[in-house]
């Protein structure tokens, strides 16, 4: 259909863009390169400044996307090639195999139970998150189907006890499997949904406009920044979010990695790594970390008022509606705000507690503070996929690596190519509400283009 649009990225911006366009009557291809739509928001515990449960408000929208007749969801899918012909875009996508028949899989989880290998989860690893080689991205995933880790199928997990990968021929040659426990478990359920021999699939279609909604990424602390790579009890704010989440690796218990005990003294370091040499930290204000810290301390205090929470910060960014009173709520709940930038962190070898050294900016004094768990607010960086995608789409990135609008004031959200629009975290640090606004606006532009 040549009246359709392509939305790249299935996070909260992509979802809203797709939903609005679909409701308008436009056919939408919603593409995400992970196994489920939902993006960053699906992994959060709460949203500031109201402490709404994140998945509770996002899941109904994901569900609407799934059920809308105008939306086709393509997960595990990458945009490979885009060519503009007569004002329309010919796009070529590749759907990477999940090794699961998405039509047949009901997400029952029998295969997951049967899988013998647990590996460290990419996102939750440091806070104890594990997943099986066949797994569901998260319980509310859309589509609600499992996927098999390609490493397993390629035989790379054999040493970790994987049941397959030792054969003379590789999986693509077979049409059934007598060894794989996931295949067996699925067959036992009478489904035959696991298809290890599945191949990647190329897809081609034509669209009239494209919306880029690739979202944000949380910056990983580089190396030993403030002890991150060295000490077990130093984590990022996203990892802390996973700790708070009832659906996370610890079922919502704020326990520290080293001894799995509830942390009673926790500190947040804002702007961690900011202003350091290139490649060591984020050189700009990411604008949402202040509120994330306020949220995390408030929730921590709600769980257990006796927990001592300290936020080390420099400038407070409380820019949005209700943000300032949210900060005040944190202060009223006993959260201690210290204007300081800690410069050094040491671990106490016995207790695995952490001692921060910092200069209090208001008094000029050099002070120390011992905590049991340290959270680094590392800021928001461009998505790693931006670079490749910018080449595929032939649109520019700015010097930071975010997508660039051609004229932000006269024609916001437009790029140098007519018909390609931007929204959400693809352009820079942004919060959920702002993403939703831009998503609606980009949808407007995308659907009216002829």
């Amino acid at each position: 259909m040549n009246d359709s649009i392509l939305v790249i990225g299935g996070g909260i911006a992509g979802i809203n863009c797709a939903l609005n366009a679909a409701k308008y009557g436009t056919k939408v291809y919603l593409v995400d390169d992970t196994a489920s739509i939902g993006g960053m928001m699906a992994r959060l515990d709460k949203t500031f400044p109201t402490n709404d449960c994140s998945i509770c408000i996002e899941a109904p929208q994901m569900f609407d996307v799934d059920n809308h007749e105008n939306i086709e969801i393509l997960t595990n899918t990458e945009v490979r090639k885009v060519k503009k012909v007569n004002g329309k875009f010919k796009v070529k996508l590749m759907k990477r195999a999940k090794y699961v028949d998405e039509e047949k899989c009901t997400g029952c989880g029998s295969c997951v139970e049967a899988c013998p290998v647990s590996i460290t989860d990419e996102m939750d690893g440091k806070v104890g998150g594990v997943r099986k080689l066949v797994s569901m991205p998260f319980p509310q995933a859309v589509p609600n189907v499992v996927s098999v880790d390609p490493q397993c199928r390629h035989g790379e997990m054999r040493k970790d006890g994987a049941c397959i990968g030792d054969c003379a021929v590789d999986c693509s040659q077979c049409r059934e499997c007598p060894i794989a426990l996931c295949v067996k478990a699925c067959e036992k359920e009478g489904k035959k949904a696991i298809t290890l021999w599945q191949a990647n699939k190329n897809l081609n279609f034509e669209v009239k406009s494209i919306v880029v909604a690739t979202g944000i990424t949380n910056a990983k602390p580089v190396g030993d920044l403030l002890g991150y790579d060295v000490y077990e009890n130093v984590i990022t704010n996203v990892q802390f979010e996973r700790l708070m989440n009832a659906g996370g690796p610890t079922a919502g218990e704020v326990i520290r990695p080293s001894d799995k005990k509830h942390a009673k003294k926790i500190a947040w370091i804002q702007c961690a790594g900011r202003g350091l040499a290139e490649g060591r930290g984020v050189p700009y204000c990411s604008k949402i970390c202040c509120m994330i810290a306020a949220k995390q301390t408030i929730i921590t205090k709600e769980h257990d008022p006796s927990v001592e929470t300290t936020i080390f910060y420099n400038d407070l960014k409380a820019y949005g509606k209700g943000f300032w009173s949210f900060y005040q709520k944190a202060v009223d709940n006993g959260v201690r705000y210290v204007r300081a930038r800690p410069y050094e962190v040491f671990e106490e070898p016995e207790s695995k507690n952490l001692t921060l050294q910092y200069e209090d900016l208001e008094t000029g004094k050099l002070l120390k503070k011992e905590v049991e768990l340290l959270v680094l607010s590392t800021g928001i960086i461009p998505n790693t996929r931006n670079k490749r995608l910018s080449k595929v789409l032939n649109i520019e990135l700015d010097h930071l690596g975010f997508f660039k609008e051609s004229d932000p004031l006269m024609s916001p959200l437009e790029t140098s190519i007519d018909g390609i629009y931007l929204c959400g975290g693809s352009m820079g640090p942004i919060d959920i509400a702002e993403s939703v606004v831009q998503a609606c606006a980009a949808a407007m532009k995308a659907v009216v283009r002829n």
Partner: protein
């Protein structure tokens, strides 16, 4: 009950997920014995294409006209079975979904017999409800293509242009004599590196609007009255003393904001050298026109006093007990400092601030200002600078945090970066549209995160600084986004609502008006005789009105009192003392129940859950019936605060539960048997723990 009710019960094995615990053949056999059931069948995977075909055949063969599906959870699979039922010729509202995986087999894995009994109970409750179900259908309300945009500033103009581009009609209602709003009062747009004059941007927009045949602009216009609802508004407008009426389909609110006058603060009003940022913009505009000289001589108008030193105080009337961050102040002050430095590089500028939070491009402007020699000085949150006029000189005392010292400085011009509030006329608009505002005079959107461009009531969009202070670029985006929201119903030509809606039986109605006041969506309109009428296309079916109606004359399709009470009675028909009746909302509470299931959390099997759309649907009468029949406990479960899919239904439910406790105690029941839990859809453990606790304390 009519004799020809024919129920089909379809029980799913879900592979071994259900059948591995629940004895499905026994359950099917039991289902066949229930009243009105003409067919019951077991499906290995009920949602598979082959079984759906079989299910449809069975419906047709047996002339089934009520369908009960016993399988996973309605939150994921109800739409699929609704479609299947519809294709088989049965009205989809005659389907009832029973959850025997998430509520039975996954949470009672070690007790197959008890699980089987519970599954039977739940299916019986489902059948009893199915028998009472009535047909319904999606409701459509026609919407034409006339959009009224209230406010002709940046957001409003952008909204109108995008509406008009689609061939729809846009009517801009502007209070002032000309379009442009705040854009009329500023020189440059922040973080544009001073390339384009705001006036140029404004002129381009106004020209575009003037040329567009589909946009009609009413200046000096005031809204006198708004009647009706989406697709159907009649707006009375007063322009230059004359009244006229417009037929309007959708509305976009873009009324903007105004700078707060810092009366009585920092000597403002006592000296013309103390001004606000917007007043400074006016001076800059004046100085700007004095040619392209290297260094423009800056003077105070009238007195011609020369200006060498300028001090800005940021966060005036912001970030205090009553107002938040003004969001635009930091980059406004930096932007204006740069402009001034470019006009005259010898000017000394100090910006006194609390926090400087400038993201991305704004950060670059900050660096530029520093390069140009603008000085920044941070004062403590609780110690604002003091301003004095001494012998005609402006003097300041300010404490610098970084140096830990107090400074005295004098200045020739003092600029106060003051906060903003909602515009004049907000209260009237609020009354006309029946929407709400916050204490700062800004309109309250339907949801802070996911509904930033709309109000709870369908058909009214919101954008720009009317909601909270935002930048020029953000206003443009919001205008476009709001245009999208308003365009969807206009493009479709109608809005559609699910058939789960309120229905008022006027016979018993005593015109108390409570329902229309309590409806969060303005879906109940009251005519001149105080007769309420449900605008069905606007009703979301939460049931708040029904549960609160003192005359019990409002029923909710698919969730009638009769149906829910029949479920309560069926659940408690045997061994009521061992059973807990749980009313759970469809959204988060049932989400929590499902999460407990997915996570295989094992909890006692005493609960019999009854789904409602919102916890606010649960009336006193329903809870009381469970008490009368001797239930071990009653649970009302809704969304975790502050989330509610019907704005505030859970708050209403909480209030009602408190009242019910008092009332039931007076009747001689133990109020401690009535529980509530507010549970997020991610919080399976919370629901499971509630069940364990209830059983521990009540049984």
């Amino acid at each position: 009950m009519s004799k020809d009710v024919r129920v089909g019960v379809f029980v799913c094995d879900c592979g071994t997920n259900i059948a591995g615990v629940v004895n499905v053949p026994e359950v099917v056999k039991y289902a066949k014995t229930l009243d009105h059931v003409v067919v019951a069948d077991e499906g290995k995977w009920s949602c598979s294409v082959d079984y759906i075909t079989k299910l449809q055949d069975l419906i047709k063969e047996n002339d089934v006209n009520r369908v009960v599906i016993a399988s996973c959870t309605p939150r994921t699979h109800e739409p699929l079975f609704k479609r299947a039922t519809k294709e088989a010729g049965v009205n989809p509202y005659l389907l009832e979904f029973v959850s025997i995986r998430e509520q039975v087999s996954w949470v009672h894995m070690k007790e197959p017999e008890i699980a089987t009994e519970k599954a039977k109970d739940l299916i019986k409750m489902g059948v009893v409800k199915a028998v009472l179900l009535e047909e319904s259908q999606e409701i459509q309300l026609p919407v034409k293509t006339d959009c009224m945009v209230i406010g002709g500033g940046t957001a409003g103009m952008n909204a109108a242009l995008h509406i008009a581009r689609q061939g729809f009609n846009a009517y801009i209602i502007e209070r002032e004599p000309k379009l442009g709003g705040l854009l009329n009062h500023i020189c440059f747009i922040s973080h544009d590196h001073h390339k384009i004059h705001a006036a140029k941007i404004l002129k381009k927009k106004i020209d575009e609007i003037g040329k567009h045949p589909n946009i009609k602009v009413y200046t000096n216009a005031q809204i006198e009255k708004v009647d009706g609802y989406i697709g159907n508004y009649t707006v009375t407008l007063k322009t230059n003393g004359k009244s006229q009426k417009l037929d309007i389909s959708t509305i976009i609110v873009a009324t903007g904001m105004k700078e707060i006058e810092p009366e009585g603060q920092f000597e403002y009003g006592n000296d013309q050298r103390i001004i606000t940022q917007l007043q400074l913009e006016k001076l800059i505009g004046m100085w700007n026109t004095q040619g392209e000289n290297e260094n423009v001589e800056l003077q105070i108008p009238n007195t011609k006093l020369p200006i060498k030193d300028i001090v800005f105080i940021n966060c005036v009337n912001s970030k205090n007990g009553s107002r938040g961050c003004c969001h635009v102040g930091c980059h406004n002050s930096v932007k204006n400092a740069i402009t001034l430095k470019k006009l005259n590089k010898d000017i000394r500028i100090h910006i006194l601030y609390r926090d400087l939070s400038m993201i991305k491009e704004e950060g670059e402007a900050l660096e530029e200002a520093k390069r140009l020699g603008v000085k920044f000085l941070r004062f403590p949150d609780d110690q604002y600078p003091e301003v004095k006029i001494e012998n005609g000189n402006l003097k300041l005392k300010v404490y610098d945090i970084l140096l830990g010292k107090e400074f005295e400085m004098s200045t020739d011009l003092l600029v106060l970066t003051t906060g903003f509030s909602g515009n004049e006329g907000v209260d009237e608009i609020k009354g006309h549209l029946k929407v709400s505002t916050n204490s700062e005079g800004f309109f309250q959107e339907s949801h802070v995160k996911l509904g930033p461009l709309e109000f709870p009531a369908d058909g009214i969009a919101l954008c720009g600084c009317a909601k909270t202070p935002i930048s020029f670029k953000e206003s443009c985006e919001e205008g476009m986004g709001a245009a999208m929201k308003a365009s969807i119903p206009m493009k479709n030509g109608y809005i559609e609502a699910e058939g789960i809606v309120a229905d008022i039986d006027l016979e018993d109605c005593n015109q108390c008006d409570l329902c229309s006041k309590r409806c969060p969506f303005n879906a109940i309109q009251v005519d001149d005789d105080k007769q309420p009428e449900v605008i069905k296309a606007l009703c979301k079916g939460c049931g708040l009105c029904s549960a609160d109606c003192p005359k019990e004359c409002i029923s909710i399709v698919h969730y009638t009192d009769e149906q829910i009470i029949a479920q309560v009675e069926t659940a408690l028909a045997e061994n009521p003392e061992k059973k807990i009746i749980g009313f759970v909302c469809h959204w988060c509470a049932l989400g929590g129940v499902d999460m407990a299931g997915v996570s295989r959390l094992q909890y006692p099997p005493n609960a019999r859950l009854i789904r409602v759309m919102c916890s606010a649907r649960v009336s006193m009468k329903m809870m009381l019936r469970a008490f009368e029949l001797g239930a071990a406990g009653v649970l009302v479960a809704g969304c975790e605060f502050p989330t509610c899919h019907y704005i505030s239904g859970n708050y209403a439910a909480e209030t009602r539960v408190k009242r019910a406790k008092r009332k039931f105690a007076k009747k001689g029941y133990d109020p401690d048997k009535l529980w509530n839990v507010w549970c997020s859809a991610a919080d399976g453990p919370k629901f499971a723990n509630t069940m364990r606790e209830m059983v521990k304390q009540l049984l």
